[in-house]
Symmetry: C2
Subunit: 208 residues, 2 copies
C-alpha cells in the first residue's frame, strides 16, 4: 500500500509516519520508483504498536526504541520482553523530601506484603518503589499501613491479573503481544481505577 493508505488504515498521520521512518522506528517500504514506496501488513502492525507505546502508554521515543529492540531480539524471552515493556510503563515516583528511614521501612512493608501474597517479583521491579513511596506518603499523613492491609489489595487484583496474563499470549507474534500487554495494562488500569471511584459513590450513597 502507499503511504496515504498506510496513514488511513493506521490512523497515524503522514508527517508522523515520515518521522518514524527517519528515526528508524518504522522500517523503510519497498521502493517502487522515485519518492514512491510500498508498505505492507508488517508496517501497519508496527504503527499500531508505536501508537500503543507512545500514545496509550505515554512512553518516550527512547523507551519505545528499547522495547522495539527487545521485540526484535529473539534471544530475549517473551517474559523478559514483556517485562521490558512493563518496566518502561512504570510512572516515576514523585521525589519527596523525607526521612530515608521512613522509606526503608516502607520498602520492608512491600517485601512483607509480596511474601504474604506469595508473589515472585524481581527485586528491581519499579512498581515496588511506587508502592513504597505511596506507603511512605500515607504514613507521613498519619495513616497506619500494614502488610495485612495491603494484602487485601493484592488479593483483589490477583485473579484479574492471572486472567489478563493468560489471555495475553494466545498465539500472536511478539510485537502484537507487546502491543496487547501495553494497551491492556494501561487502559484496564484506567477502567479499574474509575470503577473503584464509582463503587465508592455507590457505597457512600448507601450510607447516606
Amino acid at each position: 500500500m502507499r503511504i496515504s493508505e498506510l496513514s488511513a488504515s493506521s490512523g497515524v498521520s503522514i508527517p508522523t509516519i515520515k518521522f518514524y521512518l527517519r528515526e528508524g522506528l518504522l522500517p523503510p517500504g519497498t521502493s517502487i520508483g522515485p519518492n514512491r514506496a510500498d508498505y505492507g501488513e508488517a508496517h501497519l502492525h508496527r504503527l499500531r504498536l508505536l501508537r500503543a507505546l507512545t500514545v496509550v502508554g505515554k512512553l518516550s521515543l527512547g523507551d519505545a526504541r528499547r522495547v522495539l529492540a527487545a521485540a526484535a531480539d529473539a534471544q530475549v524471552s517473551l517474559h523478559e520482553l514483556l517485562g521490558t515493556a512493563q518496566y518502561a510503563l512504570e510512572p516515576q515516583p514523585p521525589k519527596r523530601a523525607g526521612d530515608d528511614a521512613e522509606l526503608a521501612s516502607a520498602w520492608s512493608t512491600v517485601d512483607a506484603t509480596l511474601a504474604s501474597l506469595g508473589w515472585q517479583v524481581a527485586a528491581d521491579a519499579p512498581a515496588r518503589g511506587t508502592v513504597a513511596h505511596a506507603i511512605a506518603s500515607l504514613r507521613a499523613l498519619g495513616w497506619e499501613v500494614t502488610p495485612e492491609h495491603l494484602v487485601r489489595y493484592g488479593r483483589a487484583v490477583d485473579e484479574l491479573a492471572a486472567a489478563e496474563v493468560s489471555i495475553r499470549d494466545q498465539g500472536a507474534d511478539r510485537e502484537m503481544l507487546v502491543e496487547r500487554m501495553v494497551v491492556g495494562s494501561v487502559l484496564y488500569e484506567v477502567i479499574l481505577s474509575a470503577l473503584r471511584r464509582l463503587a465508592h459513590e455507590h457505597h457512600s450513597a448507601r450510607r447516606g
Copy 2:
C-alpha cells in the same frame, strides 16, 4: 503557635502559608501584635487538607476552594460533600477524534455494567465518562469489551471500596473526612495499580 511553628508542624513552607492566607484558603490567625499572629489546631488541620487536595489530589486552587466551601456549608450533606471532592479528583478523559456512535455505544456498555453490578451511581458521575472513553479506545484498537467482562473488574474492587467507605466516616469532622477521602482515594489507587503490575509480573514469570 507562630507561623514558623505552623510551618514546621504542617510541613508547608511559610511562603505557601502566606499565599493561602492572601487567597483566603486559610483563615487569618488571631492578631497578637503588629505583623504577629497566633495560629491553632484548626489552621494545622486546614493546611493538612489543603496539602491533601493540591499535592496528593493535584486539584487546582479553584477546585480546592469549591471543596472547602462545601466542607464549610452545613447544608451540604456528607455524601454530597465527599462527592464534590471526588468529582473534582476525576481526571479529564483525553479528547479523541472518533465516531460519536462509538462513544455512545461505550456509554451504553458502562450503563449495562453498572446495572449488572447493582451500583447506584449518579448519571453525571464523571468516572462514567472515564470508563466510556477507555472502552472506546480499546475498541478502536480492536479489543472486544463486554459488560460481562467489565463486571469482573467491578467485583474485584467492590468489597475493597465498601471497606474503604466504612472506615472513612468513623467520627471525624467534615474537613478531616474530606482529607481522608482524597488521600485514601488517590494513594490507594496508586497502590492498587502498582500491585496489579506486580501481579502481572508474578503470573507472567510462572508462565515463563
